[in-house]
Symmetry: C5
Subunit: 343 residues, 5 copies
Amino acid sequence: MAKIEICFDGNGKFVTVGFDELPELLRHEHAFVWLDVDANEPEELEGLRSQFGLHRIDVENALSHEQRPKISLYDDMLYLEFYGLRLVDDEIQADDIGIFVGEQFIITVRRDGNPSLKALQERWSEEQGRSNGSASESEGAPQRLGSTAGTPARKPSAPLLLYAILDDLVDDYFPVVDWLGEEIEDLEGAVTEGNAQKPQLAIQRMRTKLLHLRRLLSPQQEVVNSLLRRDVPVIDEAIIPYFADVYDHLLRIHDWMESYRDHLSTIVDLQLSIQSNRLNTTMRTLTAWSIILMASTLIAGIYGMNFVHMPELNWRFGYPAALLAMAGLGGGLHVMFRKRGWW
Amino acid sequence: MAKIEICFDGNGKFVTVGFDELPELLRHEHAFVWLDVDANEPEELEGLRSQFGLHRIDVENALSHEQRPKISLYDDMLYLEFYGLRLVDDEIQADDIGIFVGEQFIITVRRDGNPSLKALQERWSEEQGRSNGSASESEGAPQRLGSTAGTPARKPSAPLLLYAILDDLVDDYFPVVDWLGEEIEDLEGAVTEGNAQKPQLAIQRMRTKLLHLRRLLSPQQEVVNSLLRRDVPVIDEAIIPYFADVYDHLLRIHDWMESYRDHLSTIVDLQLSIQSNRLNTTMRTLTAWSIILMASTLIAGIYGMNFVHMPELNWRFGYPAALLAMAGLGGGLHVMFRKRGWW
Amino acid sequence: MAKIEICFDGNGKFVTVGFDELPELLRHEHAFVWLDVDANEPEELEGLRSQFGLHRIDVENALSHEQRPKISLYDDMLYLEFYGLRLVDDEIQADDIGIFVGEQFIITVRRDGNPSLKALQERWSEEQGRSNGSASESEGAPQRLGSTAGTPARKPSAPLLLYAILDDLVDDYFPVVDWLGEEIEDLEGAVTEGNAQKPQLAIQRMRTKLLHLRRLLSPQQEVVNSLLRRDVPVIDEAIIPYFADVYDHLLRIHDWMESYRDHLSTIVDLQLSIQSNRLNTTMRTLTAWSIILMASTLIAGIYGMNFVHMPELNWRFGYPAALLAMAGLGGGLHVMFRKRGWW
Amino acid sequence: MAKIEICFDGNGKFVTVGFDELPELLRHEHAFVWLDVDANEPEELEGLRSQFGLHRIDVENALSHEQRPKISLYDDMLYLEFYGLRLVDDEIQADDIGIFVGEQFIITVRRDGNPSLKALQERWSEEQGRSNGSASESEGAPQRLGSTAGTPARKPSAPLLLYAILDDLVDDYFPVVDWLGEEIEDLEGAVTEGNAQKPQLAIQRMRTKLLHLRRLLSPQQEVVNSLLRRDVPVIDEAIIPYFADVYDHLLRIHDWMESYRDHLSTIVDLQLSIQSNRLNTTMRTLTAWSIILMASTLIAGIYGMNFVHMPELNWRFGYPAALLAMAGLGGGLHVMFRKRGWW
Amino acid sequence: MAKIEICFDGNGKFVTVGFDELPELLRHEHAFVWLDVDANEPEELEGLRSQFGLHRIDVENALSHEQRPKISLYDDMLYLEFYGLRLVDDEIQADDIGIFVGEQFIITVRRDGNPSLKALQERWSEEQGRSNGSASESEGAPQRLGSTAGTPARKPSAPLLLYAILDDLVDDYFPVVDWLGEEIEDLEGAVTEGNAQKPQLAIQRMRTKLLHLRRLLSPQQEVVNSLLRRDVPVIDEAIIPYFADVYDHLLRIHDWMESYRDHLSTIVDLQLSIQSNRLNTTMRTLTAWSIILMASTLIAGIYGMNFVHMPELNWRFGYPAALLAMAGLGGGLHVMFRKRGWW
């Protein structure tokens, strides 16, 4: 069920109206609504389409899964596709959200389970209760939203609310990115100390995760950037520093992702080098012990020959001498290999 | 044989005419035709060349195989080369299609076997039947084509039909791309579990496939992008969001292809690492068993020596003691290797 | 010796004149000449320099070897450096050619052995003979050169001749590129089936070839592209689609080259992986047989010990039992290794 | 506690005032202050915010950790985030610093421990003492700051001070970058000579360090570049060469970092190749000695056989002959392996 | 000691003046000087600074070591930093040179040992001698400098002299680049034939050399390119083709360097593949000989057992039969391994 998150009647009041009263309300120049539509019930958005003049293609995109982050700019409206990220049981979940922004409205389109904007909605419902109680009080979070620096503007502004939504979504990326960074460092530690079970599979899983995330996030920079550069009619210039801040956050996340990717590929090299080193160690063990044991066996073999004339065989201490020779040879080789740093 | 797919007489009727009646028909300002030419019969397109003022170079390109996706823009016309993709027996087939777009006509040039536009053609022939039956009925697919949002325009518009064609072609890419993604995940699974026959050859085949596909698809973005940016005379601005949507689809496919490529190269690394790991395991098996067996053989060799004075040989339990020594040594080494994690 | 390939007197006749008559001839507004100069006889080009107002630097470049493809644009002239490619005994030969283009002349500068433009020259000499015989006949190849679509212009046009030359040169690239592609596929087959002699050397040779070719060809795109974009005075707009076609051919060749390069690097990975696989197989053979043989030898060694009290030695069937034990152990190990997929 | 580093009263005097006198002082057109705020005491900067009209978002960024280097440009002000680097116990420490620049003020925001600007501050306090003593003396370091070439301007200029700060910060990068270069060369030496303990871990640590540093530094070029290109109101054109010099220094550092990265990846290849070479050497040792020892053991085994009819066993010199055969075989193989370059 | 390389008094004479006469001389509109300053004696350049209005920052850069190639453009002057390259004992030496260019002067700043411009200076001193002897004579090298094509201008022009200097410096790059190419081909040959001592170290040294060179040269393209694009006041348009030629030379060198880099990385792959191949060969030798020798030893071991009931031991030809069995087994295995292509 679509919900009306904010409904401002243009006379300084937050009001509660039904869907059928919306057209009436929006006739007032300063009225403003934020509608939150569930993408699982497409007929709702269809219903709003003609009311707000949404483009057919955007509506189709908003309702379908797995779109690419994008922005469509119109004369009096814009449409954004963005992603919310969250960690669910150590898996990264991406929820897509479609955002229509007009002069008097913002429509967010989400699947039901998507909790991305919960905090923002709570801030707003609190604000509405309070502001209706006493319209003069204006500090804290809503202040941060509903006003540019210094001049407190009462009406919720569409671009500022858009900023609040994007900021909220992007702020949710940081814990995910931090978690990724820790996972990668754990992985590096496990590879370095060699106590990982099948490190190559863990590396592979992490690389796949990063690839997936990068495919989601990298087009978003472009989306926010076009809010800064182009003459976007809905967004007035005083608000651009806010979007520039969101853009900077996205760039920082992008820097981190690139950094993770490079880090992972150094871990791949490291793992390869450690494997190769381990093989070297194994082979040296094999070589050294083979030589020691085969040399000793050769001595034993020599005195196992059945020649009639082998004077040593009759020596009193021939046997211990042979044992000594073996031990001496083995010990000597042992020392030699140690000197050459083989173990 | 070239077919006339759509023929609209400008008076709200879809009509059926012969080729020789075309010039007559097109004298009417709102008339419109869609001709579908078989590239295997070049003389047909040659025949249309002077009629529609097609550029000689474009005609040559449309008739030849293996062109690069491209766009040529003229004052009153444009020429596109595009690809259709489909899966035939788990092989990706690419069919090139040349598209001439003018104010009053669209000419598509294809090889005969190419089924790319079948669905679109069926939609249209259905629409023609219906619309001639009752001209007032206008919903469903043709509606989606023949009208911008809200204002139902009767005449089939060249750019909207071009959009429908490109959309149709690009929509056919998604099953191919999804199939590729599944193949790659199967490949990853097979490599991970080590039960692939010659995984390196499967990887190689997949990489070659991706290279081939990338060479086909990557120039297409550029082609569609130039429909958005340049002041293309045939395309009026209201339709640009439609092409922007096709462009977004191409970008998404491009993102996926890049992602696949990176994924494949992580699989190459994984396969290398697994191979190297397997070598390590083999060598450790060799080393451990060589040492155990050679050490036991050495003991046997020692008691096989023929020294006259070897007191152990005369011991009552010399033989079982020697066997015990071998077993003990072997068991001890076994435990030691296990402790060092060698198996 | 420089040759006069085309000499058109401006009155609809191809004429034959000496070098000293050229100034006289060119005084006629519609006269046109194509001079083909041998770079091995620098004084000829020097002689033409003041006649046609060529830039000193360009003349120096045209005469020297191993220049980079480039373009110099002047108010009434342009200078291009381009490459012709051909296969000589399975080696790629690149011949550089300098082209001066003015309103009334084209001067091509080549080394003597360079056969690049032979076909074009033959087409022209044929055309001259015929056109002087009957000036009204105009079809076939010269038509393709000497006229824009539809309007047959008698005078050979400098930009159209330039197009013909570039098209001729670029058309010669395709057999070379196709040959390369086949060579690479042969190489891949040989690597895959493992029956190549020293595949790493063949790969290396092919990579070096590609590097060399890429260094020659990649600047050429830029050269042709600047013919499209800049307001080149010598080239009028109607002819730009022709150069756009040459540019598309160069892009296609570039795509192929990139594709080959990526393909080769997948072959390098494949070869590495096959080598590593082969090593694995070798090591498993070694390990399995070592264990089988050493275990059997150990049994033989045990019964070769000289203990006085070894009851088995006196058994009636001790010897065959020992042989059986060896065979049984060997067979058992053999089965075990086979089960683990070692051979 | 925020400190007032420079306070110039506009009448040619450096004065000492309290925070509450600042508004009064700044009413004078030529007055100028440099305030140095501790980011650990956020309420101080908050206090300055309305006084100087700082943007709320910038203040938030200046107070928080781990921002990305960035620049915000306003009509009468700019805000920069930059990094200072220093070596602490062979670890690279990065301290972020926020810089607000207006016509009459510079505010630097740092954590307390950050020593980056100490030298600059000392130069200034010295200068203030001296200049107040005798206003006519003007040479040395302050000269370098407080004046453009030739015309000694008494008032400290905001952009020149900004230049001095950035120059100071960037100058501190060079020792860090030089130290990194030396570390990398040491690493290369250790890898080359093979006497490094776990070189792969050292390489990994260095690569991680570089990744970290690159993430910090690469956005700074962009920041300084935008001081050069855009019409930054606070910065007048005569000073741009100074910032261009800072930009050049950043480019040089960037070149070095790229160079280090490439160098490290060649070291990775080198290390892999050396490891592979070492494995080769080990395996050749194993192979050669295995063959020599096994061949000798075979001879011993042959004469250890118990056949009744073995004439050699009864030879007078059978035993030494067998030993000689072993030695000869061993020596012969030794020579052969040496000839094939195996050791 | 700074030297006056060219001093032209504006009346068609090359004159010799002292430093103190320079201001007097330069008052003449057509006068021109080329000063060559030694960077080891900074006070000289300091002295010229106010005379010619050089920027303080540029002077600092010109005097310091290891600057990045750069260009600073002013209204009536420009400052360049460039590199000269030469081979000294098979090591590449880079000498930096600072160049100030004004309407009436060029100042080159170099360290004393730098021989880069010697040839140019000699050409000039010769020219001065000759031209003063007979002012009408004007051919050969100076002609190439002091005149645009066709119109002999007597006064040495600053941009043409700058061109001559840059051309001279860049011409010196080609022998260095050629030498590098030969070294790389030698390296490839040595790696291919496997007769290199420690090829991985040679590769590493070459890669480091290329990295170093690339860091020096790649910014120079940008420097020369900005001479072509921007409206550089000192450089008039007729001369731009000359600088375009220098730029082309730099691009060619850049192409070669990129090509070398790619070539080197194919050599790294080749070397790895050859190493891996060699390991394979070694292991096959080991495996084959181990199996042959161990199998023979097993036979010897069997007949060395001490069973009482071993009928073969008493056979008349038991011993030769056993030897034959060994030889047969060994020979059979040998043939089998040869068939499998193991040696």
